[in-house]
């Protein structure tokens, strides 16, 4: 089997938002919609402060709450772990957006462009099917599928790898097959301390965070909570 997963190395991430920008390019998301973004969080009080940058987005959960609440089966999970939305089935009820503990879903009611009227590149890529429906990170599933079809390896060959991973200038984002013990993500998780957000909810996120620095009181769960709080504030 295959379980596609993302690993974000918080030792490496600098919050540059190159992944955010590359995602916007690759997926032509409208202003304000960031399927991938990086939070800037602080822990502690002056002068004992830590600051960290945390990439977030759809966690492609093992047991996605968004899927369970979807009344039209628009949201599904593929056997390889990627959670998808069928825009033809989605009615834009936004139950999924409410149910998602990771605030990963967006809904754009009407066409919006950077400066009001669409510029040439926006006209070229505007997709009316994405209006009034839920959207989110797809792990660049089209690239993965097209890459696999030509014998490429997602997470290794750029043509088959999510745009944010291709773009990351700190090698903070890694993508690969969790079910393959020799994959880049499996090796990273085997050799580093890591956590997932909202582990207690049992959603089984496919997004793992590496962190080797001193942990706040309460250990990894406390750190995860801080990230979660930051997401709520963001």
């Amino acid at each position: 089997m295959t379980r596609w997963a993302m690993v974000a190395d918080l030792r490496r991430c600098v919050g540059c938002q190159t992944c955010t920008a590359s995602c916007k390019h690759a997926n032509a998301t409208p202003p304000g919609v960031q399927w991938r973004r990086v939070l800037d969080i602080e822990v502690g009080e002056y002068p004992d402060v830590k600051r960290a940058f945390v990439p977030v987005g759809c966690q492609h959960c093992e047991d996605p709450p968004c899927m369970h609440v979807c009344p039209t089966t628009a949201t599904r999970k593929r056997p390889d772990g990627i959670v998808t939305i069928d825009y033809d089935l989605c009615i834009g009820c936004a139950y999924c957006a409410v149910a998602c503990p990771y605030q990963a879903r967006y809904k754009t009611q009407r066409a919006t462009f950077a400066y009001g009227k669409p510029a040439a590149h926006e006209s070229k890529r505007h997709d009316p099917d994405r209006l009034a429906v839920a959207t989110k990170c797809t792990f660049c599933v089209d690239r993965i599928d097209a890459g696999l079809a030509t014998g490429k390896t997602p997470g290794v060959d750029p043509e088959a790898t999510p745009a944010c991973v291709n773009a990351c200038i700190a090698q903070a984002l890694t993508f690969g097959d969790l079910d393959n013990p020799d994959s880049n993500v499996s090796k990273l998780l085997a050799s580093n301390q890591h956590f997932r957000m909202h582990e207690e909810l049992g959603t089984g996120p496919g997004f793992h965070y590496l962190w080797d620095q001193a942990l706040p009181t309460g250990g990894i769960p406390a750190l995860a909570r801080l990230v979660e709080e930051a997401m709520d504030l963001a």
Partner: protein, 912 residues
């Protein structure tokens, strides 16, 4: 191009000094839609071939609705911030006619005005990056003759000024960097490499962190780099010199001597040179070479005597001569001499960690621990093999940030940083503190070849003359770099390395002795916005309003081209053509294992009537009758590479003008020839398909030490005899002309830099404005933003959107306790004020900043640039005062302002 075609076209982005980034642009049906890394470059690029966030703004830039897409002419003769320029579209023919008439009138009248200054001036944006976009315009500038390129737009306050000058003086390091891939311990005083180091900086440092490098970030706020460091030391602003001096104190007064690299100090520095009673080297009477004490012979001998056993420390007596400024013999005969090292040790005696604690508010124990950790990681005596050559291995380094580097205290910090490296032999060796590029010495594309033997066993340095015969009170340009700043030298970059604010300041009142500073008859502006980016922006705006004829290459309307007479729309990044050098070692953290060239090419059709810069330059040259000299300059290599080499030539006919593609085809062929020793002459079409080509560059060439050893030279450290001499001579020249307004700056020319009350400089400046420090208790600082720095991309919606994910891009960062004390809540509107000015923005409450410090990221406060004018962000530049008092001896000032802070009200509604 049909609408169904999809292509990926290679090109480059060089919006910031940490570039270039090599990318591909996806073009669908003739429309650019997507930027991606050029994956083909992954193997040769030191940042994995990745592309920085700024490059992703290029698509939006191309199709920006507010672009100036036709030449425009001003119709309102009155200039001012509140005057509508009344720009109306004109044809290129009209625009060229208008500009050529002005230029030809100047050529007829004389290139210099009544003060002796060039009648034509030009200002370009930061760090030399516009040169990677302006095609052959440098050839037009070369053909023109004298031109004033010293009207600053950020130089001196927004760059790494002291480092540029002293770094290049001491170790051919216009920019200094840790040898990040090998450094194990890095003390970073305000260097924010994760925001300003570009792809390569981020890439290298991320690898180093995971490898285990410990970085200690010393900075008043918890910057991006601080966040990514093992330790944050919140130091009081402008006290870094005290911190660094205390580290040195621990090394020379508390650590055992053998923990220093004594052989390096003895053989590769001037530490053993004997200093005489008047502070100048004791010299051999016959040869006038500096003397050292030879322990083996028991006598003083010239520094280059073979087989000697140099005494590093001690006081001796020698038969010698001591020569001071202007070749004056200060003493002769049996003279007492002290080694430069001993003098340095004595000099550092007062600067204990306990002393520094009171100055920089960092606990003495912490300073001492950091100094000892630095020593613990220095690996004295160890070696490493690089490309088959054995070199010293010293994996410790110190880096300095912008505000640490600039203005008062910059000299002291640069000296301390370089000395911290020298004391443990970590200067220009693997793992240590090394330089990336030269801009003052030549050749600019080969740092090692720029090393030439100079006086006293040191490297030569092209100081501006200070002797009576050659020094002149009549400078060649308005900022007077040649007259006032010996270290700025007189090369192509020197105009921008002088006190570039003088050009603006002295328009009001030129100080005694200098010819009256005049507005230029014609001013060209490109990729820069000094009305926003310089200090004292209101004053800069008032002065540019007096310029009679301003030609601005304009992307959109902005605060500077608001004062222009003609706007010219140049083809932007994805529309135009140029070949540049890449690789080797250069600028910020750019250490490659390859070198070569990359092409920027039109990936889409040019929008509107925008024109490629090369076409504009060729047309201007022709209309000014300069074609012959212009093409000759291109042939010489002004447009990237000489068009002739051993056994090959692709030189252009100088008797006629050439098309853009013909010029760059020749340049491409020359570049191919250079890379293949003349075997291949691939032209433009080949380069358009390939995008780049490189050859290997040895990592050995990252380090200067082997070159010094080969030439039997020493680093000019620790004692600054030459600078002291130059300063004394400069002072004498100025005083001979009754010029005493530079006396405070002359005090900086000390052989051993001492701590001065640097924060007090800003207290004094405040008092001069009628304020009292107690009423303006906050230090307002600024910091670079990864998303914006150098990019000229403030009008890009996408850049703003993603930047806002990072704290500080929505307002001014205020410490939490300070905010509570003043009743300020996150998002509240606040006012930061000096005695006469104020700026407003929103409060961003964070814990990672000193209670006495406020941080405004980037440079904003726009009022004309579409989109950005609605941001409502506070700007330090609005408050900063240009003054002689805040100018150091190298002609730079620091990005620091003392301010008050008060709450205005609840969250201000965003203007957009």
């Amino acid at each position: 191009m049909t609408t169904s075609t999809v292509k990926r076209i290679p090109t480059y982005c060089y919006q910031c000094v940490a570039g270039p980034d090599l990318l591909t642009v996806k073009v669908e049906g003739g429309v650019a839609t997507e930027v991606e890394p050029n994956f083909c470059a992954a193997e040769i690029h030191p940042g994995g071939g990745k592309v920085c966030v700024k490059a992703y703004g290029l698509v939006q830039k191309t199709y920006h609705p507010n672009r100036v897409l036709t030449p425009m002419r001003r119709t309102n003769p009155r200039k001012g911030r509140d005057e509508d320029p009344g720009f109306v579209p004109i044809s290129w023919e009209e625009a060229f006619t208008l500009i050529a008439a002005k230029l030809n009138a100047i050529r007829a009248e004389g290139l210099l005005d009544e003060s002796g200054y060039p009648r034509v001036a030009a200002t370009f944006g930061g760090g030399g990056t516009p040169q990677s976009y302006m095609g052959t315009f440098p050839a037009f500038l070369a053909a023109w003759g004298p031109m004033d390129m010293g009207f600053g737009s950020g130089q001196g306050v927004k760059c790494y000024h002291s480092e540029h000058l002293y770094g290049e003086f001491w170790h051919r390091a216009f920019i200094v960097a840790p040898d990040t891939p090998r450094t194990d311990y890095l003390i970073s005083c305000g260097a924010n490499v994760e925001a300003s180091g570009g792809v390569v900086g981020v890439w290298r440092h991320a690898n180093a962190r995971v490898r285990g490098m410990k970085r200690v970030q010393v900075e008043p706020h918890l910057s991006i780099t601080g966040a990514c460091s093992a330790e944050w030391v919140p130091i009081k602003p402008k006290t870094d010199a005290a911190f660094l001096f205390a580290l040195m104190h621990v090394l020379v007064h508390e650590a055992r001597r053998e923990r220093l690299d004594l052989p390096f100090l003895a053989k590769r520095t001037a530490s053993p040179y004997l200093v005489g009673p008047n502070g100048y080297y004791l010299r051999d009477r016959a040869t006038r070479k500096p003397l050292v004490w030879d322990g083996a012979r028991g006598e003083a001998v010239p520094f280059d005597t073979p087989g000697m056993d140099e005494a590093l420390e001690g006081r001796f007596e020698a038969d010698a001569i001591e020569i001071g400024p202007d070749d004056a013999v200060l003493a002769e005969g049996r003279l007492p001499g002290t080694t430069a090292f001993t003098l340095t040790v004595d000099h550092l005696k007062p600067y204990s960690p306990e002393w520094a604690e009171n100055v920089c508010e960092v606990p003495a124990a912490r300073i001492r621990r950091i100094a000892n950790e630095y020593l613990d990681h220095a690996r004295i005596g160890e070696t490493i093999e690089i490309d088959g050559v054995t070199l010293p291995y010293r994996p410790v380094a110190v880096s300095l940030g912008k505000t640490v580097n600039n203005g008062w205290g910059g000299y002291e910090c640069c000296w301390a940083r370089t000395m911290l490296a020298a004391l443990v032999g970590a200067l220009e060796v693997p793992g240590g503190t090394i330089g990336t590029t030269v801009r003052i010495n030549r050749p600019q594309n080969d740092r090692l070849k720029s090393v030439k033997a100079g006086p006293d066993g040191f490297m030569a340095y092209p100081m501006n003359p200070t002797d009576k015969e050659r020094w002149s009170p009549k400078p060649n340009i308005r900022n007077a770099y040649k007259t006032m700043i010996p270290l700025a030298a007189d090369g192509p970059w020197s105009q921008a390395l002088g006190p570039t604010h003088f050009s603006w300041m002295f328009l009001d009142e030129t100080p005694k002795g200098l010819p009256r500073v005049t507005p230029p008859d014609v001013w060209f502006v490109y990729r820069t916005n000094p009305a926003i980016s310089f200090w004292d922006t209101a004053s800069v705006q008032q002065k540019m309003a007096r310029f009679p004829f301003v030609v601005a290459f304009a992307f959109t309307r902005d605060e500077t081209n608001h004062f222009a007479d003609v706007l010219l729309p140049d083809a932007v990044d994805l529309e135009s053509l140029q070949l540049i050098r890449i690789g080797g070692t250069k600028f910020v953290e750019q250490f490659w294992n390859h070198q070569g060239f990359a092409l920027r090419q039109p990936v889409v059709t040019t929008q509107g009537e925008a024109r490629d810069f090369t076409d504009v330059a060729s047309e201007l040259a022709e209309r000014c009758g300069l074609t012959r000299d212009y093409v000759a300059a291109i042939n010489r290599g002004v447009a990237c590479v000489p068009l002739k080499g051993p056994g090959w030539s692709v030189e252009l006919d100088t008797s006629r003008t050439h098309s853009r593609d013909a010029i760059w085809d020749a340049v491409c062929r020359a570049a191919s020839a250079e890379l293949t020793d003349g075997k291949e002459l691939h032209g433009l079409d080949w380069w358009k398909a390939q995008g780049l080509r490189t050859t290997p560059f040895s990592q050995l060439d990252w380090y200067l030490l082997p070159t010094l050893v080969e030439q039997e030279l020493r680093f000019e450290l620790p004692y600054q005899e030459r600078l002291m001499r130059v300063g004394a001579e400069l002072g004498a020249r100025l005083h001979e002309h009754d010029m005493r307004w530079w006396d405070k700056q002359l005090e900086e020319y000390r052989a051993l830099p001492a701590w001065k009350d640097f924060p007090g400089v800003w207290d004094d400046a405040l008092r001069e404005q009628g304020g009292e420090p107690a009423d303006f208790p906050f230090w307002m600082l600024t910091a670079r933003s990864m998303q914006y720095a150098w990019g000229g991309n403030v009008g890009m919606q996408m850049i703003r959107e993603v930047a806002q994910n990072i704290a500080g891009h929505r307002g001014v960062i205020v410490n939490g306790a300070t905010a509570r004390r003043l009743g300020i809540a996150d998002g509240d509107e606040i006012e930061l004020a000096t005695p006469h000015r104020s700026t407003r923005g929103s409060a961003v409450i964070r814990e990672g900043i000193r209670p006495d410090t406020l941080l405004a990221i980037g440079q904003f406060d726009h009022w004309a640039t579409p989109y950005a004018k609605d941001f409502g962000l506070a700007s330090l530049n609005t408050l900063a005062t240009m003054s002689l008092g805040l100018t150091d001896a190298t002609g730079s000032g620091a990005d620091v302002v003392r301010v008050s802070l008060r709450r205005i009200g609840g969250p201000r509604k965003e203007r957009r």
